[in-house]
Symmetry: C2
Subunit: 330 residues, 2 copies
């Protein structure tokens, strides 16, 4: 009898414990249902995928001197994002991959060696992830800014399916002026000639524009430099919506968040250390040689595609917003 | 009372089960102490390290046409070893790494980009492992045979601390004859000229010999092609002792174990499909131009270093063992 009583007490205790546990689970579930919790959980899952190639990498690029460094520092002003300086090795690696593929088309030696395109892609992705993740501080969202890497965005999207691309677009005449006046080195381009640089800008733009369109608006966002400078609030909000990362006012104060990862070799460094400034928008006015200006629609037809007027040598790019005018403080 | 009895029976049962479990553990432990079990456990630990760069990789290399393919097929006849065909991408990648380093010395751009030499090495090792592991079937011991990769054995040993190197050495005059008569392509070498090929052989040999010596006998084993062909039993036993892998008779019958991974693009393929044969040892006799033969001690001083007599145009390389003579069967 005593045993029976003990057993029944023990059973009751078990019921009580079970009840308490289920209450806690319910409480937890209810707590987990708040919007912030759900968002945090979603962010965690996105940034800690089972397969590292599923990381939501951000690639910032475009023609050199199109505001890619400004974009990078604005992104890095956000506490969850880290780009780090240009790596240089990644564009080199991708060039090498293209060479292998070209060689492969002719010889089939890689396939014969058992190095299937897929195996090569995985090897490339492991190499890239190692460099992207470990060449600067850890973060939730990793970003890379080797500007010309965006020429390979289709391939990058293939090996990193959740990657997104911020494609910086800028009036090619302004980029060209910046390159010529600072003699920025670009392999295979005569950077003393406005004509050569604009022809190069047109080639680069044609390809990046086409690839960006091919990837679609969920994966590639063209960002106009002029809009980023003139209407930073609206533009950065759109960028963060595209990235699916919560926007914060820090991104408007990038000059306060510059960290030591900004390379002294990066030409743009001197400029991004100042607040947003508008001089760069018009500094090229009157600097393009007459003959080049005359042939502009022929040299750089992509200007028109992007909505710039090639025949107007002093275009306006829109009005600055209240934040830029200093009327609003964030 | 009944309950007390039940409890005591249950307790007794528990004791019996406990006793049986501990007996099994003891039995297992005793069994685990046998030599085979210990060896198996040790092999498992070696081939499944926590850090993949600690894998006991085997690199087979040397001057082209020095028996590297024969060595590879003999190793692969062992059930635990897999090399797979030449990858081609790995030598290319290492060339690229050298270029980065040379460039880096001049510019310090990689360091400025946060890509420390160590980060680059890890990225390279991940890339290499991906290719080595997945370009052919899985195995306990992975091996690579891209012959000229051994020029980088010091670097490879740095990024793969447990790797071992089998360095194929062969009379340079025989290699040169094989290259010239088959017009094997070697970038930067005039393969129609015995003099050029022998000069190249000497350069390659100087460097590989020096590096092999620097790594020491635990990590690098020079294997003479002539000995491998004439005394395969003794030579392969020494090789497997060096690799710390159990030797088996399969390795003497490599022609029976050829699998589909042998590339039809690999020049040596036609030869390794036959049993060991001795014709190749002497087929170069009388083929070297007179003027080259006269200058041999000057063109290829490494011949002497390896113990070949540069002034003897018809050297002997030793006696074939009983297995080669067909007196012994394994």
């Amino acid at each position: 009898m005593q045993c029976k009583k003990t057993c029944s007490i023990a059973l009751s205790c078990l019921y009580v414990v079970g009840f308490l546990i289920s209450c806690k689970v319910l409480l937890y579930e209810e707590k987990g249902e708040t919007k912030e919790e759900k968002r945090a959980e979603e962010m965690f899952l996105r940034t800690h995928p089972v397969n590292e190639t599923d990381l939501p990498l951000i690639f910032v690029g475009g023609m050199p001197r199109s505001g890619t460094t400004l974009m990078r520092t604005m992104l890095e002003a956000h506490q969850d994002i880290r780009c780090g300086p240009e790596t240089h090795v990644l564009p080199w690696l991708l060039n090498q991959v293209h060479e292998w593929r070209r060689h492969e088309d002719k010889t089939h030696r890689l396939a014969e060696a058992g190095v299937e395109p897929n195996a090569l892609d995985i090897a490339v992705s492991k190499f890239m992830l190692e460099i992207i993740k470990f060449h600067a501080a850890p973060a939730l969202f990793y970003c890379n800014k080797d500007p010309l890497l965006l020429l390979d965005m289709i391939y990058l999207k293939k090996i990193f399916p959740n990657s997104k691309f911020i494609y910086m677009v800028r009036d090619g005449r302004a980029s060209a002026h910046s390159i010529v006046s600072r003699t920025v080195t670009i392999v295979g381009v005569n950077v003393k000639s406005y004509r050569s640089v604009l022809e190069y800008w047109n080639r680069i733009s044609q390809r990046m524009h086409r690839c960006c369109h091919e990837l679609g608006e969920d994966s590639c966002l063209p960002v106009y430099y002029e809009q980023l400078v003139l209407q930073p609030v609206k533009t950065t909000k759109r960028i963060f919506e595209f990235l699916d990362i919560d926007w914060c006012t820090d991104v408007l104060h990038h000059e306060k968040h510059l960290n030591s990862t900004l390379s002294k070799f990066e030409r743009s460094t001197d400029q991004v250390q100042k607040p947003l400034y508008l001089d760069a928008l018009t500094s090229w006015f009157g600097k393009i040689p007459r003959d080049v200006e005359k042939d502009m629609p022929k040299i750089a037809p992509m200007l028109k595609t992007f909505g710039y007027d090639p025949s107007n040598p002093r275009p306006t790019y829109g009005e600055p917003d209240d934040f830029v005018l200093g009327k609003v403080h964030y």
